[in-house]
């Protein structure tokens, strides 16, 4: 973290604590968001240092670091990002690798429940995880294909129009249909839940790779 960021961070944390003391929720949330953005920059910088050659792992580590922050105040209790990363990494090591799927499925369910407000009910993510024991393949085209098959529509023409629209191979008339389906789904809450489930499932895949790599290369965080 550079000098400028440290100053900004100190000021934000001070104001945040004050807002919490004043019970000023609106101000506290605003400052919280600003701090999160600051940390997102720092986490990205640290991730780039740990995995300089692999963008996907960088993104995964960044996600992990930020996800480990229950509150920005957590991070502030550590002197530097490196010491915070050590703390996070040691936390990760407490989990056995064989348990990773269970861990993350739990987190998927809790995150999705928080989004959807469905409480303890089985979530879309959980059902999705059950019906797809293996995550989709890594490349983007496969991911789109899989995603299109997860939309609510059973109409193969609609699915094809959507897929061809997304990958840029639809003709003008099919593209009109694909865009219509896509925009409608992206605006509707039930679909958002499905989208989020897909994304979180994709995160599991990314995290599995990250997990393995960290086992090998996480040493230089310490």
């Amino acid at each position: 973290m550079n000098r400028h960021n440290e100053d900004t961070e100190k000021e934000l944390v001070r104001a945040l604590r004050q807002a919490e003391a004043d019970d000023n929720l609106a101000q506290r949330n605003l400052l919280f968001d600003q701090l999160q953005r600051l940390y997102a920059d720092d986490a990205a910088r640290l991730a780039a240092r740990v995995f300089p050659a692999d963008k996907q792992l960088q993104a995964g580590l960044k996600l992990h670091l930020l996800a480990s922050l229950k509150s920005p105040i957590d991070r502030y209790n550590y002197d530097t990002w490196d010491s915070f990363a050590r703390y996070v990494f040691n936390g990760w090591k407490q989990y056995a690798v064989r348990d990773y799927l269970r861990q993350y499925r739990t987190s998927i369910i809790s995150i999705d429940a928080r989004f959807s407000g469905e409480g303890d009910e089985p979530t879309q993510a959980e059902m999705l995880a059950d019906s797809h024991p293996e995550p989709p393949k890594a490349d983007a085209a496969d991911m789109y294909e899989w995603l299109c098959s997860r939309f609510g529509t059973n109409d193969p023409d609609e699915q094809a129009a959507l897929r061809d629209t997304i990958i840029g191979e639809a003709g003008p008339l099919a593209r009109r249909l694909g865009m219509s389906i896509l925009s409608r789904h992206l605006e509707q809450k039930p679909t958002l839940s499905r989208f989020r489930a897909c994304r979180l499932w994709a995160d599991v895949r990314a995290r599995r790779k990250l997990w393995k790599e960290l086992a090998k290369s996480g040493e230089h965080i310490r």
Partner: protein
């Protein structure tokens, strides 16, 4: 960034104390109830009194949250109402009026002197006035800092124009008058005429002046859709977008000074404003094109109608080889679209159509309708990408949509086409759009006489050039048209000006291709 509180904000710079009321506390210590609906005074959290700022030291703690942290709940303001002397209750010497002998002619009793009294008694005819003018400095400074947002600055002082003799005051007034369009000639908002109604009547006049300048110069955006509705006497609000935030201003407040009635004044003002940016263009066409574009866009979004029309095209194309069931389906579609003579080369649909050609628009109206539809298409594209990345996060692959193509645009202009029965792009075929029946119609009907060039297929209009943000051989948009198109685009819900600016696709259409 949007603050849609819906009231015009006032920064009130005045050292008045509650106890001043009736003496110096001009205007009233509270806005009258009927004005509170349209105006609000920005409150300083650390000041108990009625004004926003009592000393220059009060300014930064209030302004800082906006300036450094981007909070827009208090700033930017639209009216700055400023008293000049902010020390009359703290520093008696600040209001001393000195006679030729250097002695105070009107020492304040236990507080400052009364320069108004000085004028009234005639003793102030020649004196050297030592009154402070920190309020003027603060007001001009605040307005200058906010120069990218329209602000009406209202001087209100009991000194009248007595301070004009002070070189610094004269300098400040001369410096700020051209930029901020302040009227320093009329101080009737103070003294006997002191009242919020008088202050705000001057304030909104100055505010509108600034809005006009910033809008015409392209520094702020005003909702074109709302301006048009205001010009038709229909709207009650005007949405303003500056680089800082989006604000929604009540017309009854913005035209508080209109003796002929706010609606009529607003109608005239908005009409003039639209004419200012439409310039040589056709205002009626721009207004009418909204209805045409909405009709086309609604039809484009009607999946059922769109599919039926595609199905008609598909089955008609295969009519020689249909089974019995398909033949019945085709017959039903002929009836639904009222196709009188399907075997004729010029067969067309007689009803349930949505087709630019069939809406009776003249060329300028049709041209603007085309551009409005393009904006709708771009907005859909942009919103899909935005929602996708918000929902899926940065880690997921970005949405790989192809760019908007001319073919997409044409499908949206002829969503349930009258003719030909077999649609131009059926089966994924991307024939040259210009040689389609639709392309020919556009070519023949949407010529722009100002830039007619026979070498180009779609003379003057240039669908491809418009999408690519180019100007070739007279085709493509003129800058004035782009300006209007930007205002139309900024009216699209759920998208910010920043969204439009950050997409290379929309950049090209709305701002033109940057020279490489």
């Amino acid at each position: 960034m949007a603050d849609l509180d819906g009231r015009i904000r006032i920064l009130w710079i005045d050292d008045c104390e509650a106890a001043d009321a009736g003496e110096y506390a001009y205007p009233e210590s509270e806005l009258p109830p009927d004005l509170r609906e349209w105006f609000c005074v920005v409150r300083h959290p650390d000041i108990p009194g009625p004004s926003s700022i009592r000393t220059p030291e009060d300014f930064w703690p209030l302004f800082d949250c906006f300036w450094k942290r981007g909070q827009t709940d208090l700033f930017p303001v639209e009216i700055v109402a400023m008293d000049y002397n902010l020390r009359k209750w703290r520093d008696p010497s600040a209001t001393a009026v000195r006679g030729d002998d250097g002695k105070d002619d009107y020492p304040g009793a236990g507080g400052g002197s009364d320069p108004v009294a000085a004028k009234q008694t005639g003793k102030a005819s020649q004196p050297q006035l030592q009154a402070g003018f920190e309020g003027l400095v603060t007001g001009v400074f605040a307005s200058a800092m906010l120069s990218a947002h329209p602000t009406g600055l209202v001087p209100m002082t009991n000194y009248g124009d007595a301070l004009i003799g002070v070189p610094e005051v004269r300098a400040l007034q001369n410096l700020s008058r051209p930029l901020l369009r302040v009227d320093y000639s009329d101080f009737h908002v103070s003294g006997d005429g002191r009242s919020w109604r008088n202050v705000l009547r001057k304030g909104v006049e100055s505010l509108r002046d600034r809005m006009e300048i910033l809008f015409v110069e392209g520094d702020i955006s005003l909702s074109l859709d709302e301006l048009m509705r205001i010009s038709e006497g229909e709207a009650n609000w005007l949405t303003l977008r500056s680089r800082y935030c989006t604000r929604r201003l009540p017309l009854q407040g913005l035209f508080l000074d209109a003796d002929e009635g706010w609606r009529e004044a607003a109608r005239q003002w908005s009409t003039d404003l639209i004419k200012d940016i439409v310039k040589e263009g056709n205002l009626e066409a721009l207004v009418e094109s909204r209805r045409i574009a909405e009709t086309l866009w609604d039809a484009y979004n009607d999946d059922d109608m769109f599919r039926r029309r595609c199905r008609l095209s598909e089955l008609h194309d295969m009519r020689e080889s249909l089974n019995e069931q398909q033949q019945d389906e085709l017959k039903g579609l002929y009836q639904f679209f009222e196709v009188a003579n399907p075997e004729s080369n010029r067969a067309s649909c007689g009803r349930n159509i949505a087709d630019l050609r069939a809406l009776g628009a003249d060329a300028p109206t049709a041209r603007w309708a085309c551009l409005r539809v393009l904006v709708k298409l771009l907005a859909r594209h942009l919103l899909c990408r935005k929602n996708w990345s918000e929902i899926m996060g940065e880690e997921f692959p970005a949405l790989n949509l192809s760019n908007i193509l001319v073919e997409d645009w044409m499908v949206a202009l002829f969503p349930v086409a009258q003719s030909p029965l077999i649609l131009p792009f059926q089966g994924g075929a991307c024939s040259d759009y210009a040689v389609t029946a639709w392309g020919k119609w556009l070519r023949d009907n949407l010529k722009d006489d100002l830039s007619l060039n026979p070498r180009h297929i779609l003379e003057g209009f240039g669908l491809g050039e418009t999408i690519e943000g180019e100007k070739r051989g007279g085709c493509g948009l003129r800058e004035a048209e782009r300006r209007i198109l930007r205002e139309i685009a900024f009216d699209e819900p759920d998208l910010t000006e920043r969204d439009w600016r950050e997409s290379s696709l929309t950049q090209k259409v709305l701002w033109g291709r940057r020279p490489s």
